[in-house]
């Protein structure tokens, strides 16, 4: 029995066209760029979190220092009539955003 030819006459196997190769390379590049962009974003967020963490610890230390040294700083507030006033101080840090701040109320020692 005679073998059938693998390719019929008149059919040409061209393989990938240049366009197909370019498209696949484009997708490969996009995938690689997406990986790097994701990593870059992760490091940016990490750096931001690190900066905020340092700012928060510094603020915390300022507040504790303030409580330990002098308590009668800031704006005087009298919540109950004829009582000793409380002193309101807002501690903020530009690294935490303009709207953020810790409000500390303290009494005279």
């Amino acid at each position: 029995m005679a073998k059938e030819p693998l390719s019929s006459p008149g059919i040409t196997i061209n393989g990938f066209t240049l366009i197909e190769v370019m498209v696949s390379l484009f997708f490969l590049t996009i995938a690689a760029m997406a990986l790097l962009q994701g990593l870059d974003l992760a490091f940016r967020q990490y750096s931001l979190a690190q900066t905020r963490w340092e700012a928060i610890v510094e603020l915390w230390n300022q507040i504790e220092q303030s409580r330990a040294t002098s308590s009668s700083q800031g704006e005087a507030i009298q919540i109950i009539p004829d009582s000793r006033p409380l002193y309101r101080t807002v501690f903020s840090d530009p690294r935490l955003g303009e709207q953020s701040g810790w409000e500390v109320l303290s009494a005279e020692k």
Binding site: P5, S8, P9, Y46, A49, W53, V57, N61, Q65, R67
Partner: protein
């Protein structure tokens, strides 16, 4: 009849060269991604340990020192690698009873084997924060305590010589600290 001649030697060489360049580039990028992902993971692990400190320390440290005038112990005892915190804050009727009977009235913090460990009451030391490279306490300005914590990564970062130690100093004001509360006239 179809005659399939295949690629010439020149075509094969060109295709091989281009393929090698393309795949080398891709795997190089992928390798970099793995390296820096691993580094980021190590840094985050180091920092998440340190980030526990502000959550735990204020609860443990700030109530310290609420002791009666005749207490046989000091509120804060600092040693080379440890700090002992005593506070008589619990007793009948909510008043000090001259006994450190409750577990939360006596705490010892120490650094041992790269862990920050805590002992409560008569219990044993338990690790709470790992990767601690340094733990220093300064109580010279009581009632303000300064604690320096340094943390390190589990292993060196890949492809960088960056200093891996992260040191943070925390201040804690002991609101209740009195060396002697007052001499009571009962």
């Amino acid at each position: 009849m179809l005659k399939n001649e295949g690629f010439s030697l020149l075509e094969t060489m060109v295709v091989s060269t281009i393929s090698i360049i393309v795949f080398a580039g891709f795997f190089s990028i992928f390798g970099q991604f793995q390296t820096w992902s691993s580094n980021l993971n190590l840094l985050l692990e180091r920092d998440e340990n340190l980030w526990l400190a502000p959550l735990l320390f204020p609860r443990w440290i700030t109530p310290t020192g609420n002791n009666r005038w005749d207490s046989a112990w000091s509120g804060v005892t600092v040693q080379a690698d440890s700090i002992e915190l005593n506070s008589d804050i619990h007793g009948p009727g909510g008043f000090p009873d001259s006994q450190l009977s409750s577990s939360f009235e006596t705490l010892v913090l120490r650094s041992s084997r790269f862990n920050l460990q805590v002992k409560s009451g008569t219990g044993s030391f338990q690790p709470v924060i790992k990767n601690i490279a340094d733990f220093q306490v300064d109580s010279r300005d009581l009632p303000l305590i300064s604690i320096l914590l340094s943390t390190a990564t589990d292993r060196p970062l890949l492809a960088t010589q960056e200093n891996l130690l992260q040191s943070t100093r925390f201040l804690f004001f002991l609101r209740n600290y009195r060396s002697n509360l007052f001499l009571e006239n009962l």
